[in-house]
Amino acid sequence: MISVFGIRHHGPGSTKSLLRALDKLQPDLVLIEGPPDADKEIEYVANPDLKPPVALLVYNPKDLSQAAYYPFAAFSPEWQAMKFALQRKLPVRFMDLPQAMHFGLNQMEKDNIQLPIDQLYRNEPALSPEQIAMRKDPMGFAARASGYTDSERWWEMLFEREENTDDIFPAITELIENMRADLPAKSKREQLREAYMRNVIRKAEKEGFQNIAVVCGAWHAPVLQHLNRYTQKSDNALLKGIKKIKTAATWVPWTFNRLAMQSGYNSGVISPAYYDLLFNNSEDFVIRWMSKVAQLLRSEDLDASSAHAIEAVRLANTLSTIRGNAVAGLDELYEAAISIFCEGHDSKMKLIEKKLIVGDRIGDVPSVIPVIPLQKDLEAKIKTARLSKEWKSTDEVIKELDLRKASNLLASHLLHRLHILGIPWGRQQNVSKRSTGSFKEIWKLEWLPDFAISIIEAGMWGNTVLAAANNYVVSKAQDAKTLPELTALVGNALNADLPDAVQELVHYLRDRSALTKDVEHLLLAMPALVDAVRYGSTRQIDISALEAVIENMVPRICIALPNACVSVDEAATKDLFESIIEVNNKLNILNNEDHLKSWYQALERIVSTPKVNGLLRGSSTRMLFDKEYFDIIDTVTKMRYSLSAANETMDAARWIEGFLYGSGLLLIHQPDLWNILDDWIDELPMDNFKELLPILRRTFSAFSGPERAKMLTLAKHGQLTANESQENHHFNEERAELVLPTIKLLLGLKH
């Protein structure tokens, strides 16, 4: 005998009816609409540590883009049916079209391979929106047709009455049969799925099972109930020729959020939290719901007393009576809560809506369920990094790490490694510039159920997080096309503490930099390399190889740079300007005499090449002056030369912009330079001045307020004489002498 139970996916109402009916039937086999690929995983449902919401993940181990999730909540009828069977030691199987065939079909569709079924159903039927709604959620459709906004309440009203519990499933089958009769032919996939399900049932019958319980979505109930309307031959013919792709399956934790319809899950429910409450406490759920509202509001520091909750319960009940429903549904609850707790404005409700309606429950999978080694290693690493609390938390967590602490350093390495592996659990936030030092990292942590598949995907790179990240970086390096890509990888690898990968990367760097003709790339790569050398020593990385790369790169840059600066357009000039400043800083930090010598020579050539944009000549002059490669006399000469009347005024202005980058103090302390500039501006014709004003303004606006104030006074006074700035003030010797003993004391000098 076959008994078909048409349920509503994730419907707590149908779960209760189903359990009652199963108990009455006492079947010897339970068949459930689910992927047979995961038959072996069913036994874990009996394990009390497998806590829903969880999902079955079925995937193609060779191509992880082919993966499917089958989520279950504690109130899902399928979940409870599995539990029912396992508790009674009954055989239980999945009977839907295997995911292996779904993947195969996708593949065949992509490759345009025809199937027998394509001959039968050439075109997908065109459906009206109403028909689509009917097919998607037949129960919801029927509920709406009878004036209920919430199909669970409708189910409860219609089927959960004591007197008619026996007959509800045949009644549902009949109802759906009528609905299906109104619709045109079904979709291809649906045909195949139903044919396969019928075959599974037939097979079970042949095996000698006497009393088979079939649990499926209500939509499929009629075609499974009346097996004799279809022949095995025609069903076999439909399924013939479908390619099968080998799959693997496992349990993964799931969240209420993902179960909710809002997250785009097709068979999702509006309010998992509400359904959970309904399933566990159907007697007094209105009271519990309102108490929850009060508590959530209080946790947001909003007024909500028990009196509010009492009134809200009464209002919700009265409201449902006025609307002619025997019990309050989600709408009544929500509206009553807005009116009583929130004074009619729903802004307060919005604050708690996510927790109240969707819920923040998250499932758990016990360690006995086989997972790939990477997952195990990851869980161990999370524990040692003291991030267990943040892992699998539904809320976003902001985590501040102090890299001087051992456990925080571990956490940072782990997060960086996961980031490299494409598991973006943590996203690094910009540390504000004011906080001192690079010991601080701020991460925003947000766990997603999808990481389950990302972890499996990353598993192909290695069995530990460290090994996987190492291998991944190295393989990325092989594919890297440009030098900056490579150096960025070096930076990542250093942050993630992957010394092996860094060593490997250095080889690639050496080869790549030797071949690169683009000096721009070399310039961009340089800063990251210098950083690597500076920090590498603190991370137990052999930096001699890196130093060797830099050793080779500096001369290359110095030779090619002056020529690269000639005749470039405005935008490229700007990039070059920034790169040169950056490289100059880094080389000064490294402070290698040979490097600096050739770098200064290169800069000098830039200064004296006339076709180079003024911005670059100006800034190079300034760098050389700062490092005392040029003395003041040289600099004055260069400046006067560059600002002479024969030059194009625009280029002269750029020269000033470059020369004064960063700071204008120079002008204040070097009266000669100031005077040249002063003269130059004085002699500018009015029209030219107007034209240059924006550039000059841009240059000077970068200076600090006091600098500008000082310049203003200088400009008012006119020309400076050489000794004016070091002007000898008239000291009162006697008074000055009075403070000397104290200063000596402070400095610890003997009298």
């Binding site: 009464r314 209002l315 409201l319 006025i322 509206e335 009116s339 004074e343 009619g344």
Partner: protein, 364 residues
Amino acid sequence: MAKKKSTKVLRPHAEDAYAEELKKLSAIDDRQRPSNWNLSPWAVVTYLMGGTLEDGTVIEPKYFGNRRLIEIAVATLVTDRALLLIGIPGTAKTWVSEHLAAAISGDSKLLVQGSAGMNEDALRYGWNYAQLLAKGPSKDAIVASPVLNAMQDGKIARVEELTRIPSDVQDTLITVLSEKVLPVPELSSEIQAKPGFNLIATANDRDKGVNELSSALRRRFNTVVMPLPKTLDEEVNIVKTRVEKIGSTLDLPAKTASVKEIQRLVMIFRELRSGATADGRTKLKSPSSTLSTAEAISVINSGQALAAHFGDGTLKADDLAAGITGAIVKDPVQDKMIWQEYLETIVKERKDWKDLYRACKEIL
């Protein structure tokens, strides 16, 4: 449809104007009624939202908005919590409260108009001083307020503009609402409310200088926020229906305003209110006036009166111009500028609106 009563009053009370409907509803209503209610909650909702009864009687809709709001309002009154209707002026708060009282108690006259100069007596009771002097304090010497009357008769009392009443006077209501009792310390006694007593208050949240409710009092009320009509069509429908209604009670000549004129007017009001044109392409400045649906109704009405008495009987742009300008320009400097700007940039550009543009320009 229009119920012209022989009793000549300017505006009959709701329970008189719709006596027929209430009677029919009561006759057909077989659902359970809360004690001292004339109708069941279902019938009250039907009375407000309109519908056709089983015997074919058509109930006119009184409120054109979300049915759910009215359901919440009625449910509130069933749960013996008081009802507070909040919204900007002209969102039919008073209208709804009047009809609720008429449907539930058959009496919408137990009304206290809130004002800044009000004292406690208006909510509690006063004294008949002749009695007081002659016989000393006694129950007979008490002059009951509408609230007290409602308590004694088990009816709905109404308080208009609750937030205009000084805070300390407002708080008189706390005992009345939570314990349903009004103490009379002068007689060392109290007056207890009969079942069916409840209170509907209205308040608007746009005005400045109002007295916020104390949280103790606020807790005694369920709040329902009355929204502005959501769509242009909905609002045009409201204006049209109400104008027809008022026109007939004021004995204006029967010609009704054309839908076109109403649409134009409602569109102007909506655009200025929301600060953007209906197509969302142009941002507009909003004037200080509220420009509610109620004001649109009164502009159409005055326009119709103008057309009837001084024009040819059909409502034209000239008849509306004065009303529109008056409704929009409340602040003679700021609003006038905003209105002029709107005229020049929006009204002038619209194809069929030339007549309106000319008429309004003439007045400014």
